[in-house]
């Protein structure tokens, strides 16, 4: 994209205007003494015009400016209510950074020093999961975006708003050689355009104001996704007059899209008439209200809920939380309502990874499928995160959280008193089943209870014992612990779980946890991050960020000393070829030497203990770490664990 020069606020034009208006351009004595190169050589040369002569005269440089474009940008950013800006420093946004910390007073947003752009974006991802809104990320439009790309993709897949401003130097004549040339790009957003919802390259400050507000609205409209603005260094650094003023558009968020009344009524009819309806939820609850609305629908229908865990959708010990029975319920369902499912097809099919990859539906013939998802409203082509096509019977392209109230009201209108009685009986059966599932989970957790390395069930139980009396928030995805926290703990509040990474990109866990903990800090919550070892080593510097900014977060290492998912993948290949079945560890494990995560954390100012391999030592260590975190500091306990 060809850059357009900003005619109004170009640095050269500004200086010229100042010279004409205030007559600050003066010739120095030294300049006067220097003979013209034409003098005495060409007496017939035409006389130089007065205007040209003025231009030719050396001028006193203007080296300072009281106000720059980036100051106005901060005004705009503040209008968006940004609490923090996460960034690894970069010269292409130095103007904006300086304005944030000085003109803006380093408050709303406050600068958070990150040691990697991937950490900056993943922190924003985790923050948004708790706070429900974006924080600002600054990055080089070139090398910064390249570092940040994976984290942006995670947020895109996870439908999370992240607000990114990238710096660039568009005018080739203004780049300091050689670095600024290598750090400049024609179209900075191109490399991430496939996995952001919108981007722009504002070329004036009024343009910035409009695009900044537009970007925020787009990011916050379901399906939520990252947005990018690329801001030229000239636009940031060029002086503006003290009296310059441009309008900052008011921020009014769009109403989330709701399902149309006809489709909602049809969905309600199918659900009420069904004998075995099942509600499957993934990213339904954008806010605490989403959770309450799903509870109301489930209780109205007395229908089981299978929570796929993209968000904190449904209390884990609610009688209708039947996630442990997903297979049998789906197999027996006559109507399935999918709410913001990231993969509807996967929810109702099994897939077998042998030489011949095969799949089968896990539903019975004739099952009616209903989908409510904002994902239908926005798809891109290149990256395939939209998953396999599913033919549903009622497809409501709308935000589930926003649609649930009308759906529940429609359901209520259709339920007769007789039907209500039958539904009550159905609910009673599920309540009993839920208790049985909890008992089974506990029985299963008892196996390998005293094992060393420590079982993930024991690890989860030891943590639960120390935090259950606190106002806690699990800021990590427990899937690699066999989901034991979700099976054994009681999750009741929206902020107690932040779901998954979205794109399965490793390196998300640690920074997302710190970002979520940053959001939790002002509420005084105890943030708990069960941290996988391989994930931490992508960018462990986020521990320093937590220490430096006094972000309280309890990090418990799930240190199985491997990229364990990949160990299993190589094992599959070795077995398939019947060779070297004892060599799957090559290239997949993080051992010999084992990394000492306690020392790693201590080196960055984080309280740490470990490695702990005896389960009896675990509880007291966690208790000590909790005390540290409650004093406002991060802490880390390194635990040697079973693989899953």
């Amino acid at each position: 994209m060809a850059p357009r020069k900003n005619a109004s606020f170009n640095r050269r034009d500004f200086l010229k205007n100042v010279a004409a208006g205030a007559a600050v351009v003066t010739a120095t004595p030294a300049a006067r003494a220097t003979p013209s190169p034409f003098e005495g050589r060409n007496a017939t040369a035409p006389p130089i015009s007065a205007k040209a002569e003025l231009r030719a005269l050396p001028r006193t440089e203007i080296l300072t400016a009281e106000r720059t474009g980036s100051d106005f940008m901060v005004d705009v950013i503040k209008s968006l209510g940004m609490e923090y800006v996460c960034a690894n420093p970069g010269s292409s946004f130095r103007g904006l950074q300086e304005s944030i910390i000085n003109y803006g007073g380093n408050h709303s947003p406050e600068f958070i020093t990150c040691l990697h752009e991937e950490s900056s974006v993943a922190m924003a991802h985790g923050y948004a999961k708790i706070e429900g809104k974006p924080l600002l990320v600054l990055a080089h439009g070139t090398v910064g975006f390249q570092h940040a790309a994976m984290a942006i993709y995670n947020a895109y897949c996870d439908r999370v708003p992240v607000y990114i401003i990238g710096g660039n130097i568009i005018d080739a004549t203004k780049r300091i050689p050689p670095v600024e040339w290598t750090h400049s790009v024609q179209d900075a957003a191109a490399m991430v355009r496939d996995f952001v919802k919108w981007d722009d390259l504002p070329t004036s400050l009024p343009h910035f104001a409009e695009s900044a507000v537009r970007a925020y609205k787009i990011a916050m409209t379901p399906p939520m996704m990252p947005v990018v603005l690329v801001v030229d260094a000239e636009l940031q650094e060029n002086p503006i007059s003290a009296s310059a003023s441009w309008m900052v558009p008011n921020l009014v968020l769009p109403s989330p899209p709701q399902g149309d009344s006809g489709s909602v009524a049809e969905a309600a009819r199918l659900l009420v008439e069904a004998e075995n309806p099942v509600l499957i939820t993934d990213r339904t609850a954008r806010t605490p209200a989403g959770m309450a609305r799903l509870i109301e629908l489930a209780e109205t229908l007395q229908a089981p809920v299978i929570d796929e865990g993209g968000r904190m959708n449904f209390p884990t010990r609610h009688p209708l939380n039947q996630s442990e029975r997903a297979d049998e319920l789906i197999a027996n369902a006559d109507v399935i309502l999918g709410l913001e499912l990231s993969d509807f097809w996967g929810a109702i099919h099994s897939f077998r990874d042998q030489i011949e990859r095969t799949s089968r539906p896990t539903t019975k013939p004739g099952v009616k499928l209903i989908s409510i998802s904002a994902g239908s409203l926005f798809l891109k082509s290149n990256y395939q995160d939209f998953q396999r096509f599913t033919a549903v019977h009622v497809d409501i392209a709308a935000d589930a959280e926003a649609t649930l109230p009308s759906l529940t009201e429609s359901v209520k209108r259709l339920i007769t008193s007789d039907r209500k009685e039958a539904l009550h009986d159905r609910g009673a059966n599920f309540a009993a089943a839920r208790q049985d599932d909890l008992r089974r989970a506990r029985d299963a957790a008892a196996y390998a209870w005293d094992a060393s390395p420590i079982s993930t069930a024991r690890l989860s139980s030891e943590i639960w014992a120390q935090i259950k009396g606190e106002d806690w928030s699990l800021v990590s995805d427990p899937i690699f612990l066999s989901s034991w926290p979700l099976r054994l703990w009681s999750f009741e509040k929206y902020y107690q779980f932040i779901g998954t990474s979205g794109g399965y990109g490793i390196g998300y866990g640690a920074p997302a946890a710190v970002g979520a903990a940053l959001a939790n800090r002002k509420y005084g919550r105890l943030s708990v991050n069960i941290q996988c070892d391989g994930d931490l080593m992508y960018a462990p510097g986020v521990l320093w960020t937590a220490a430096h900014h006094r972000i309280p977060v309890l990090n418990i290492m799930h240190n199985n000393r491997a990229y364990h998912q990949e160990v299993m993948q190589v094992q599959i290949m070795a077995n398939r070829h019947s060779r070297g079945i004892d060599r799957a560890k090559i290239g997949t494990t993080i051992d010999d030497p084992g990394i000492d995560y306690a020392k790693l954390a201590q080196s960055m100012g984080v309280y740490a203990e470990g490695p702990i391999s005896d389960p009896k030592d675990l509880g007291p260590a966690i208790r000590r770490a909790v005390d540290v975190v409650k004093r406002g500091q991060p802490a880390l306990i390194d635990v040697l664990t079973q693989p899953r």
Binding site: D443, S483, M568, Q571, N575, R579
Partner: protein
């Protein structure tokens, strides 16, 4: 639904003269097809409760646990009835989900699990070497160091194993789910026997009710 199942349904409908005629109740064909039965067994998800070779639920050992159904002693008719109108917490499977002929295939498959040649666990099998092999061959990756299993990997609890040695060997050689197969070339019967006795040496869990941390 897989192609073969759909085709067979069509064939039956043609044979009985009307595509709308009901399928015969409790009068399935006398001998079902073992391979088709295995496919249907997995399609229906029977293994999720009854174990991958019908060995019974690995989860708790409580009264409510799904029973062993491999080589079931039920007659075919009783088996079909138990699927249509199960007792306890098993969900019913109606004829829309699985036809009677398909159930006869499943029945044949379950019977075949009991008719495999009985392998004798060698007395020389070594739990110490079995532990070494269990780790070296990557069994721990999905099943945990103690065979405790994981819902995330899909590896069921196998420590201690709740299926006989013969079934263990048969399953490891030709697994039904996502487990990678262990061919003879890669792991001998003697090595698998060592692994089996290692798993047999794993203790039963302490009852969860007596573990305070599991009653929070």
């Amino acid at each position: 639904m897989s192609y073969c199942i759909a085709s067979r349904k069509l064939l039956i409908a043609l044979l009985i003269g009307s595509p709308l005629a009901p399928l015969p109740v409790a009068k399935p064909k006398p001998a079902g097809d073992v391979q088709t039965g295995k496919i249907i067994f997995e399609k229906l998800g029977c293994q999720r409760c009854h174990g991958s070779v019908g060995e019974g639920m690995i989860a708790t050992g409580k009264d409510a646990s799904p029973p062993k159904i491999a080589a079931t002693r039920l007659s075919l008719g009783d088996f079909v009835q138990s699927v249509r109108k199960p007792k306890g917490q098993m969900p019913p499977f109606g004829s829309q989900q699985v036809s009677d002929p398909e159930l006869s295939d499943v029945y044949a498959y379950l019977q075949s699990l009991g008719s495999q040649p009985k392998l004798v666990l060698p007395s020389s099998a070594s739990p110490q070497n079995g532990q070494h092999l269990y780790m070296a061959f990557g069994c721990y990756e999905c099943h945990g160091y103690q065979g405790q299993g994981s819902v995330e990997t899909g590896g069921s609890r196998i420590g201690p194993p709740q299926i006989p040695y013969s079934s263990f060997i048969a399953y490891v050689r030709q697994p039904t789910g996502g487990m990678p197969p262990y061919a003879v070339k890669a792991a001998s019967d003697a090595q698998l026997a060592d692994i089996y006795v290692f798993l047999k040496s794993r203790p039963q869990a302490t009852p969860s009710k007596s573990i305070s941390l599991l009653n929070q």
